[in-house]
Symmetry: C2
Subunit: 327 residues, 2 copies
Amino acid sequence: MTEGDPSGRPAKAATIGELGEFALIDQVTAGLSPSGPVVLGVGDDCAVLRLAGDLAVSTDTMVEDVHFRRDWSGAEDVGRKAVAACVADAEAMGAAPIGVVISLAAPASTPVEWTAGFAAGVRAECEAAGVQLVGGDTTSAAQIVITATVLADLGGLPPLTRAGARPGQVLAMAGRLGWAAAGVAVLARGFRSPRAVVVAHRVPQPPYGQGRVAAEAGASALIDISDGLLADLGHVARASGVTLDVDTSRLEIAEPQQAVAAAIGGGDPLLFQLTGGDDHALVGAFEADRVPEGWVVIGRVLGGEPRVLVDGAEWDGPPGGWQHFTS
Amino acid sequence: MTEGDPSGRPAKAATIGELGEFALIDQVTAGLSPSGPVVLGVGDDCAVLRLAGDLAVSTDTMVEDVHFRRDWSGAEDVGRKAVAACVADAEAMGAAPIGVVISLAAPASTPVEWTAGFAAGVRAECEAAGVQLVGGDTTSAAQIVITATVLADLGGLPPLTRAGARPGQVLAMAGRLGWAAAGVAVLARGFRSPRAVVVAHRVPQPPYGQGRVAAEAGASALIDISDGLLADLGHVARASGVTLDVDTSRLEIAEPQQAVAAAIGGGDPLLFQLTGGDDHALVGAFEADRVPEGWVVIGRVLGGEPRVLVDGAEWDGPPGGWQHFTS
């Protein structure tokens, strides 16, 4: 415990090492009240969820100084992003996300304010995504490492895998591309604006609920764009055995993206759209007459060898896509 | 890439940084073939599982130099332990474990042999536990951090929480106590024997399948002993609002535990049983005439304030129980 300050206020933990594990768990989970499909929430050996259909499950890990920097993103941003990134994977199966479990490994020296902000971000994004925090783990580590796992309900519909695209369909997208990448581009150069793209890096805005909309509209394949449009469509092309052709005239390049591309030395803002990850747009293969409202047609599914074309031609720009461990 | 060696063998990645993320994922998942309740395995945005009843889910994180040391445990041990520890949480709800997802964060300098051993351990323990590896994530980090999440099927029975113990019942146990703690005691003093307790620290042996046996025998509360018998029974006492009385004459102190207690300076081997964690025995509250075969009665559920007695008396030894972050 730290000493009380001269004002006479009681001593208060400044770090999570002083706070202790159980108090830290309380900080994250206090007041949570399971409802709906969550039969049993935080506090026992497991949480218990009641699903109407098959379970879709995915896990995502974020590491300090690999996926986020504490000087670029606030604690609340990091909490929001952890939830958003994993929930997007459930949306990408056409499932309805129900719950998340979150593991937080962090140094004992981490300020209590940071974990409080992180917890607030987790809760805020859970609310935005329509999911409940149902469990987790906390432990000490040299570095902040967050693993979030999403539990989602397919509710009687088949999962929308990457393997279901068929020639003759159109590619349609919900959400947005290239915002987070533009944000990283300015942050890496020491700037904090345009604010809209910086905020997009800090907290992605997946199109919550649209995975289910795609499933109900009869989409036959769906993916979320986490590594970049071309890289992720490459997964769909290979899994489905089709050629995908992206029509760049349908990709809306926003003003802040143009501003960033211009500012960083005449870059092509289209690159943010084609190769930037982390915005978690959903892209699916639909029959042309069944594209849901609000989705934008951005290309076509063709027969032929598994590859991704840009405006009908081979792409000769940077491939995009993000691999860890490689230099 | 490293250079080929003088024998003329082809160049080969020595570290996971050289191997790359996708090859690392292949190393862990190659040849996995989903079956039974696993509708869709590794490789898409989510795995898909088909459950007969409610879903039980829990997550557990292990950090290098906090939960394991690479000089005390081999890579395969660490993989096995990650699976065992999380599956035990599902057993402790009376659920049938079906799948696990595993996140591995590790330095780029980690030897490929280490991750190959880790993957082999994960697979071996999945087989022992009757679960399938259905997904995961890999990323770089300063330190090895492993998060495993278990998905389990309650199959039409209610979850066995910590809150269901009732006066008049007996406490019965499957599995064993105090082995891992004895192992840590010798390893911390620089010894590697008795081998049985060292192995127990490296790879716990939860009583797989016995959670479901307890549920079918009508147990009304169940927990796995991960922090120590007294600490974990404390959770049951508080959640159920009962007094629990442990009969130490029913706790079998094994020869290696006696040997360790004697060797480390006249310690009481009973302490390993009462306060040692990480063996993941299951302890449940049963009607006296419905204790399943192979389970050992180790105490009673009494009315009265929430507390844990040892042979009818207050416990005045060390409390046991493990909190992270506290010094």
